[in-house]
């Protein structure tokens, strides 16, 4: 038990916290603080998102007319979709949840002061800047980049555009990702609070851990592949280009051996965020904790065995194709299990429909569509028809944008008050959520129809029969774009001018909410009190502080009795 002034010292917004304990640009540029690095990452990936999103809007505008609405050559269109894909995948989605949100939250969830290797963490951010810079240098070099984000050979070897710059950029970004993954693995293994067992970890940690395994094991393969591509392009060593005795399908195997697990680098942390949001905003213990935790690990491992489903039409052997199809279907189970568990968590909860929860619910909706449409692509005969059409484009956007971007926004809104100590405008937040949701569906749902009717992807012009669907899609893209801009605006305004909020405005129970908002430079000024991250009854409202704190810290005379404990 602590007295009132001690409570204030612990939980009220402090005079000095990690944002203002040191000043000047150097205190940010050379910081080793995981929270500051996370914020810099967040700013970085937001810029990448807006940039690549602008490319997408240019594409969609061009597709307003079937023979191209903008005075843009086909070459320029090809460069636009390549840069859109490459920047979105390598510079935005892969680092988005783990490196930005994960960096801020993971050590605090463990009750640790920082990640295991703070310098490596900063290096990871600078590698991100260098890698992204090199990707963009491909544009500035004057040659552009027109291979598609997949760099398929032999076109990538023959084209005159800046492939070497871009692949080297992706190579460097790979190291940035490996650094983050390695850091998280070691941090979770060695820096958990005393007594914090694996099954007392929030599910976000489990998903970040599973992600980190993929980052560390799969990303080196991408690095090797890209280096071999550069070697083939410059020295003609004869590995990927049939002209020199190589095999283009081999490149596809190498590439997808990384890039399929990379899909799970994108979606697993997002699922972790959703597990947190659903339980906090329904104030219910997460249903089937161990099933969700193990399904993350199962997805991470199965994710290594399904890369061939990107290559059903590539000319790989038919027996191999059959096997990959079978394994692909098994991935559906752990994903479905997660969705069912989230629904069961809502049951009999006390559901608060604020901005983060709205994003979490739209995640379930959109990821549901994204996941179910994966079944059409996992089945062999239908995939032959749908492969490389707009159906695939719609499917992976539902997973990556409807999934990861929605979860990222939900997560940022959830932890924003923790980072800045200020609250956002919930109404405008929900408006932005609705715009993102509606705009997203309008953009990508028509693409399912176009795809199954036979519209190939990566086309700068198309047959007039698809005109109406393309126009709907273009309208949707602008709604989606403005929705994201609004969300960013709401968040920036909140960080500067938002009303002060207490340490724990949402009655969340995981450890990061036991520090003040914004947290101290060392995260906690006291040893955080280890409790179950999903035992929301352990938190009580303190009138004086205007926020939720642990029962043990609260004034015993005002603490309501414990509710009937439920077995779990």
């Amino acid at each position: 038990m602590v007295d009132s002034s001690a409570r204030k010292a612990l939980f009220d917004t402090p005079e000095t916290h990690f944002l203002n304990c040191t000043k000047g640009w150097k205190s940010w540029a050379f910081t080793l603080d995981h929270k500051r690095i996370g914020i810099m990452y967040l700013i970085g990936v937001t810029i990448a998102l807006l940039l690549a999103g602008t490319f997408a809007l240019v594409l969609r505008t061009h597709l307003w007319a079937f023979d191209g609405a903008l005075p843009m050559s086909d070459d320029m269109y090809n460069q636009m979709f390549t840069l859109h894909g490459a920047v979105m995948v390598f510079s935005f989605i892969i680092p988005s949840v783990p490196a930005a949100l994960g960096n801020i939250v993971l050590p605090m969830m463990l009750g640790a002061k920082d990640v295991a290797f703070p310098r490596m963490n900063l290096a990871s951010f600078y590698l991100w800047i260098i890698g992204t810079g090199m990707l963009l240098a491909a544009i500035l070099s004057g040659y552009g980049l027109d291979t598609g984000w997949t760099f398929y050979t032999p076109y990538s070897i023959e084209t005159q555009t800046g492939v070497i710059w871009a692949t080297f950029g992706a190579f460097v970004l790979g190291f940035s990702s490996i650094f983050t993954g390695l850091n998280f693995l070691v941090t979770v293994n060695t820096m958990r609070s005393k007594g914090q067992g694996w099954f007392q970890l929030p599910l976000f940690i489990w998903s970040l851990y599973a992600t980190a395994i993929i980052q560390v094991l799969a990303t080196p393969v991408l690095g090797i592949t890209l280096l071999m591509l550069i070697a083939e392009k410059t020295m003609h060593i004869g590995i990927f280009d049939p002209k020199y005795g190589g095999d283009p399908v081999l490149f596809q195997h190498f590439f997808w051996f990384y890039s399929h697990p990379a899909v799970y680098i994108m979606i697993l942390p997002a699922m972790g965020v959703i597990s947190e949001l659903i339980s906090v905003y329904s104030q219910k213990r997460i249903f089937g904790y161990s099933f969700i935790a193990f399904s993350s690990v199962a997805i991470a491992l199965l994710g290594f065995l399904v890369w061939g489903h990107h290559m059903f039409t590539s000319g790989q052997s038919q027996v191999v194709t059959l096997i990959f199809s079978a394994i692909t279907f098994t991935v559906a189970i752990p994903s479905a299990v997660k969705v069912f568990n989230w629904l069961a968590t809502l049951y009999k909860g006390s559901i608060l429909l604020n901005t983060p929860m709205c994003f979490a619910l739209s995640f379930i909706f959109l990821f549901g569509i994204g996941g179910l449409t994966g079944l059409f692509l996992g089945a062999l005969s239908t995939d032959i028809h749908l492969h490389d059409t707009y159906f695939v484009v719609a499917h992976f956007h539902f997973v990556m944008v409807g999934g990861t971007l929605t979860a990222l926004l939900g997560g940022v809104f959830h932890w924003w008050p923790k980072v800045w100590g200020r609250m956002y405008n919930d109404f405008l937040g929900r408006v932005s959520c609705f715009m993102v949701f509606a705009g997203f569906n309008l953009t990508f749902f028509p693409q399912f129809v176009m795809g199954s009717r036979g519209m190939p992807r990566r086309y700068a012009s198309y047959d007039p029969e698809f005109l109406a669907f393309h126009q709907l899609s273009t309208i949707g893209a602008f709604v989606l774009g403005w929705g994201i801009v609004l969300a960013v605006g709401v968040l920036i305004y909140a960080a500067i001018k938002g009303p002060r909020c207490g340490a724990n405005p949402f009655k969340a129970a995981s450890l990061e909410w036991q520090s003040s908002s914004p947290p101290d430079f060392h995260n906690f000024v006291h040893n955080p009190l280890l409790n179950d991250p999903y035992d929301f009854d352990a938190m009580v409202f303190d009138e004086e502080l205007g926020t939720y704190i642990s029962r043990e810290f609260a004034d015993p005379s005002k603490v309501p009795p414990r509710k009937e404990p439920v077995h779990h």
Binding site: S325, A379, S381, T382, V449, P464, E465, L467
Partner: protein
Amino acid sequence: MNWQLPLMLAQATEKAKDNLEELRARTEAVSIDGTTVPDHALERSAEFSSNPFATDYWFPEQASEFASRVDFLYMAIFWISLVFFVAIVGVMVYFCIKYRRKGDVIDPQPSTSHNTAIEILWSVLPSILLVWMFYVGAEDFFNMRVPREDSEEILVTAKQFGWVFTYPDGDQSPELHLVEGQPASLIMQSEDVLHSFYVPAFRQKMDIVPGRYTYAYIEPSKTGQYRLSCNEYCGSGHSKMKTMAEVHKSAQARKENTEWIEAEKPMWENGEHIYQIQCSGCHKVDGTKATGPALNMIWGTEENVNNGEKVMVDRAYVQKSIWEPNADIVDGYSPKMNSFKGILDQQDINRVISYLQYLKAKENFDGAEEDFYKEHPEFSKDVLEGDMDESVPTAVEGGAKADAPSVPAANAEEAQPAAATAVAVEEPVAKAPVVEAPADAAVEAPTLEAPAVETPALEAPAAEAPAVEAPALEAPTE
């Protein structure tokens, strides 16, 4: 969401355009030249069902035997997914309404947070459905991939940015022509980068990989014209690498569409056919710049090339740029063309040249269609390539010697005379060469003396003109 909306929009747009001809012109501008746009591509929207739960809302018509199987599995997964999706979202929305927080009171009711039985149940039940989907998909896949014994073999050559289909009888065409009920096994190869063969109406797709053969199998079951497109990104002209798959009633009807080089056609028409199959992916004939320069006005002009010199587009240069495309590139273009050595022989090049001459003459002529042949009898449909049988081989030899690509320096000097040689050699032969000669003279003329363009053309029959000019030009070669 109202899914009638796209249809309404489409109809509105159709109306606004009103002019189908204009629509066709705009569509053809984004297709490979000389390839007919299937009418479907223009007016399909109305053919689709407006009911999103019907198969023909999601799919184009079924034109192959296995199309209905693919559609069946697709719709089966569609319904299974729909049931699951409605259940998930329904439960979610119901819970969110029923258990939403009222005011500031947080009162979650106790309920279990773990139930192994239900967890196992909802893991295993969907698995059974997944096994079924996998099984049906795999079975149909093998039906789509393993050809019947009696299928005909069609060779497919894909390249940036066009298609060549070679039939068992040696005919070639830039579109795929099939016979209803006759299964076809496509043996596919690529000349440059990855491509992919895709005909939505057949539900068939296969990548075409350079350095190896890939195979696709089709059992066409319905006559008609269908879209055929490249589905694997292949470079700047990817979105224009589309053509048509046509299913004919009989082998005879197909033959009419695939007959290729023939003696009973004018030389320029054979040249046009070669152009359509081999060149049209990158070179336009309507004056627009594509991957390569437009060809309609290029014959006889002087072009700046990338080594700073000027080059006359004559026989020597045309041959060189087909066989050694990266030697003298016209300014403003990049080295993207592959050599056609071994694909187009000397005779084919002569046909292409004849087509270039025809195009140029056509561009310079503004009058009625029938007057064109009066003024340029050498292009008339009566002047058949077969009649020139004796002259052509001679021309080939003469041309080949003079244009020997290994001596580029000599080339430039001899360009002019080489062309003249061709003219001269053709001269003695009775009908064709006499009429062909003035054409050459006419297009060569501007370089010698600009006003001369008109001269031979005006002296219509012009039997004399070449006789006077040709020997004079011939002199330097000897």
